[in-house]
Each structure stands twice: as C-alpha cells, then as structure tokens.
C-alpha cells in the first residue's frame, strides 16, 4: 500500500495495489451489483411511469391470499439473508462444514421463495393475466409485472445455483471465506431488490374495495 512507515493515518485516496482495501473479486461483485441496481431501478421506474400515466391501473391484490403469501415470500428472503450471514460467519471462523450447512439453509429459503412466487404466477395466469391483457384494467400491468418479478425471480434462481456451487466448493476446500462472502453480497442484493418490489408492486396494488 502507498503508506509510508511512521505515517499516522492512511490517505483516503492513497491508491496503491488495493486502493479500497478489498480484493479484486469483491470489487468485481460490487461493480456488478452497481450495474444490476441500475437495471432494476430502470425497471421499477418504468413500472412507476406507466402506472402514473394510466387512468385505470389494476389493483388486483387482496390481503388474503396475495399479500399474505407475498409477505411470507419476504420472510423467506429476509431469513435466507440471515442464514447467509451465518454461512459467512462460520466460513470466516474456519468452520467450513457449518458454513456449507447454512448455505444449504439459504438455498432452501430461496427455493421456498421461488415455489411461492411461481404458484402466484400460476394463479394470476389462471385468472387470465398475460403480458398483454388482464381482466382488471390497463393492459400494461401484466407486461410490467411479469418483467419486473420475472427478472427478480431469475436472479433468485441464479443465486440458488451460485450458492449451491459455493456450498460444494467450501465443503471440498476449493474456496475460502472470501468466496462465500462475495456470494453473500450477491444474495443480499437480491434480497434488497425485493425490499422495493414488494411494497411498490404488491402493497401499492392492494384492492381498496369495489372489486377489480
């Protein structure tokens, strides 16, 4: 590092081989998260733009079962984030078997989320909702809903596969604690995105009475 011996404190922008004090692997994940955050922001703003421009945007979700189920999905993701932290914690303290166990618990949370979400899609499709039409109002609702939640679901699925690979690798000593931590960054990001989709798409679309 660009720090002379005897210098009392590090220069904030001192540069050097590792100017941010993290590995290139971790920096790469942060940069990926930055770009992915912009992708999701664009999709959410697209949804908000079309919703605000519409005179008859649908509010098809009822507290029971839609909001209850999506709250359960939120619980699954939030809890899987906690188990992910436990995986990193154990990996950092050299307990690789425990780290793998918590990674599998995280995967279980992700799979539960996927199952509940796909079931919800199935119900909506059963009610006649497609990307181009629905029975409740503005036809753009289906397109934006499936794109936004589908993109998120794809990220959860990718995360489940990624964490599966990491669990396999840490069990066999082919990765270290930092590898688990970097995969954790991705998983927490997927959780974070849902913290915006859940309120803005589901809770803001609760049927306020008067049917669809």
């Amino acid at each position: 590092m660009a720090v002379a011996h005897g210098q009392s404190r590090l220069s904030l922008w001192g540069g050097g081989v590792h100017p941010y004090g993290i590995s290139h692997k971790k920096m790469g994940m942060w940069l990926f998260i930055l770009s992915d955050a912009l992708t999701f922001s664009a999709l959410i703003f697209g949804y908000a733009y079309l919703r605000n421009a519409s005179a008859n945007w649908p509010t098809p979700f009822h507290i029971f079962p839609s909001i209850l189920v999506s709250t359960l999905m939120t619980f699954c993701l939030l809890s899987s984030s906690l188990t992910m932290v436990l995986a990193v914690y154990n990996a950092q303290h050299g307990r690789n078997a425990a780290a793998a166990k918590w990674l599998y618990a995280t995967i279980a949370g992700g799979v539960a989320f996927l199952v509940l979400h796909l079931n919800e899609w199935r119900t909506l499709i059963g009610e006649g909702m497609t990307v181009r039409a629905n029975a409740w109002g503005d036809s753009m609702f289906g397109g934006t809903f499936f794109t936004l939640t589908g993109m998120h679901m794809f990220h959860v699925l990718t995360g489940v596969i990624y964490l599966g690979v990491m669990a396999y690798r840490i069990t066999r000593g082919r990765t270290d604690a930092e590898g688990v931590e970097v995969s954790g960054l991705y998983w927490h990001f997927v959780d974070l995105v849902w913290m915006f989709i859940f309120p803005l798409v589901y809770l803001m679309s609760v049927d306020m009475g008067g049917g669809h």
Binding site: W30, Y89, H188
Partner: protein, 120 residues
Amino acid sequence: MSHGAEPGDSHKIESMKVNYIVWVWLLAVTLIEVFLAYIKVPIHIMLIALIGLSIFKAALIVSWFMHIKFERRSLVLTLIPALTICILLLNVVFPDSFRLKKMAVNRTEKASHAATEVHP
C-alpha cells in the same frame, strides 16, 4: 468504518448478535408496511411511507448484511453517491407520465362529450 489496507485485513464478523437484531428490525418494518396496506392508508401517504421504509431497510441490509459499514470509506464514497445520482437521474422522464395521464383523461372526456352530442 475500517481502514484495513490489504484485502486480507477485511473485517470479520465477531458476533452474530447485531445481525439477529437487524433481521428482527427488517421483519418488523415489513409488518408495518403490510399493516399500512391493511388499514388502507391514502395512496400518496402510502407511497411516501413505503419508499421511506424501503430505503431504511435497504440501508440496514447494505450496512450490516453486506458489511459495507466495515469497509474503507473510499469504497463507500466511490459506490454509493454515484449509484444514488444515477438512480435519481433515471427520474428525469417521470413528469412526462403526468402529461400522458392528462391526455388519456382528455380523450375520455372528448369521447363522452361526442357521445352526448350524437345521442342527446
């Protein structure tokens, strides 16, 4: 924020206690959000409340679960302001949605007016 100079110096999670507390906070805020929907708060208040609570939850996740609280400040200053500005800039086209809505309403009113003239 830590000033760890080398990658190997990155902060380890010493205790899980604070992470459990963060998890409980995240669940509690989620329940507050659902409660707001349940009692059917007026939509504009709901929107502001939900955005505020979501940003609070995101800050908890990024700070504690994603551990950025313990990274060097230079990393935080590189990532967060740039992302925030870019996200805010995405908003520049949003006011156009009000114009579209006004056009849609005018179109509906004209159609209804024309129908009244044809069948008084």
